[in-house]
């Protein structure tokens, strides 16, 4: 089973929920996948040392100057303006290239080959008794995160329980993160920002046809707008994590949230049981 934990808005508690879910439910074969590759935080919360680091690259073109006759076909083909043909050479802008491979395949003189452009790493950390953490970490300065997200998610694909800690937003990075999940848990907060961004996330899970449920974090009793949205979309509210300054403080320091708020264990177990029920 793969459960994606997403939110739309940043800072609503995705990492809190996903790390605690893994700790409560995980066994040695479970995995938590941190696909917030721009700013991965699950490793900080779980505090386990990284044992293995794997480099991830994507392919970009390299022109063999001797074979190239500067015909300009490649620049014509490229939809992303990643190739510029000058009077004496072809310039390749790796950061604009989407690694589609069209220029390489279509070069009339076969003067282009593809080389690896490093984009980040996958870090693997063993967690005591509850599985493995896989963290995608994008190189600073690299613009495109989806290829790294895809590579990170391709690891340990057969694990019985996979929890995906997704990036904020609703762009291609979020889509890549929630793709192929059995369920998407959307963590929200009862503020106008939380509500606005949640509506967009609900559109995203609907487009991918992934069943979803809501968790209201920092709940303080008032939830009429979230209830209305839940009723309108048919996406149920599965649980509420009450606002707690103790939890906020402990979590900020990297202390155990399940100790700071003992009731969290029951809240998350109940949420998981509802997900299982919905999927069976």
């Amino acid at each position: 089973m793969q459960i994606a934990v997403a939110s739309g808005k940043g800072g609503t508690g995705k990492t809190l929920v996903s790390t605690c879910l893994l700790r409560i439910l995980g066994d040695k074969n479970s995995v938590l996948i941190d696909t917030d590759v721009e700013e991965p935080n699950a490793g900080l919360v779980l505090g386990q040392a990284v044992q293995k680091t794997t480099n991830v690259s994507r392919l970009v073109p390299e022109i063999a100057p001797r074979a190239c006759n500067l015909c300009g076909e490649c620049a014509e083909i490229c939809s992303f303006n990643a190739l510029v043909v000058l009077s004496d050479k072809v310039l390749v802008f790796d950061e604009l290239c989407h690694s589609c491979g069209a220029c390489t395949y279509l070069c009339p003189l076969r003067a282009i080959k593809e080389i690896e452009h490093p984009i980040g790493v996958i870090e693997e950390a063993q967690l005591p008794g509850y599985g493995t953490l896989l963290t995608g970490r994008l190189n600073v300065g690299e613009a495109q995160s989806p290829p790294l997200i895809k590579a990170t998610k391709s690891q340990k694909a057969t694990s019985a329980l996979r929890i995906v800690d997704c990036p904020p937003g609703t762009t291609c990075a979020m889509i890549e993160s929630i793709r192929d999940s059995d369920y998407c848990l959307l963590v929200t907060e009862p503020t106008p920002f939380g509500l606005h961004d949640l509506e967009l996330s609900l559109e995203a899970i609907e487009m991918l046809n992934i069943p979803g449920g809501l968790v209201i974090n920092r709940w303080q009793g008032e939830e009429s707008e979230l209830t209305a949205l839940s009723d309108k979309t048919g996406v149920p509210i599965l649980g509420r994590i009450p606002f707690s300054p103790e939890l906020a403080r402990a979590y900020m320091q990297g202390q155990d949230p399940l100790e700071a708020m003992p009731s969290l264990h029951g809240i998350l177990t109940d949420i998981f049981n509802q997900i299982k029920g919905a999927l069976s």
């Binding site: 939809s79 600073v140 300065g141 613009a143 920002f193």
Partner: protein, 287 residues
Amino acid sequence: MKEILFISGKGGTGKTSLTSSFIQLADNCVACDYDVDASNLPILLKPQKVSSHDFSAGYTAHIDEESCISCGLCAELCRFDAINEEFRVLPLSCEGCGFCEKICPVQAITMYPRSSGHWAEGMFNQKHKVFFADLRPGEENSGKLVAQVKTMARKRADTEQTPLIIADGPPGIGCAVISSMVEVDLIVLVTEPSLSGFHDLQRVYQLMQLRGIKGMVIINKWDLNPDISQEIENWALNNDLPLAGKIPFSNIIVQSIAQAEIPATNPVIRKMLFPLWENIIEQLTVV
């Protein structure tokens, strides 16, 4: 004209609460929201829309079923798994590279421009301009939409001789943030004293350095963790990042946001943030 960008790395540190407040404190500015896939600044500024424009970037492939001979070449060559077994295009996976269109032996594939969202110009407080955008969920090209918002805002500031652009940035360090940083004069890093806040701050700082932009730091909710707050202060000092100020956790700010109000409309918050704004403006004159 100068441009100030508020970013944080981590989401939820209080960028929009603070940016909206500084926009309120500034005498004359053009406001911008570069968080195009979860645009929250307009929720607080409540602008009257002046104009709204469709934004399309990139293309999506379409396969004409009549002419397709099901040879499978397109599906085989597509790197994005965007063509399924029935030879239909999956728009959410299609990157718009056009490879399939070029290799289809029977020219059954056409590339269509893709509507990615829209951008808008609005007015708030009867005089200030604000530029914002909404990327359609699931779209890429957020960097291009940010660039569009930026171009329009800078043009407006130029024609109306507005001396300052104040921009609310997106979380992360990827394409949208990189695009937000173009031509920016000063970056204000809004952080919170948590392990993840500090970690994310350092990554966005590295990006800022790669781009050669000067910055300063605001530690929001500093009193929730004075130890990490002190660590961040020391780190900022060692990295030539002046501290614009520290803001304690405030229930008034929480209440303002709950009511979709700009926190600085409250006189207590206004008074608290004013010295920080003066520090930012002073820094802007030396960068």
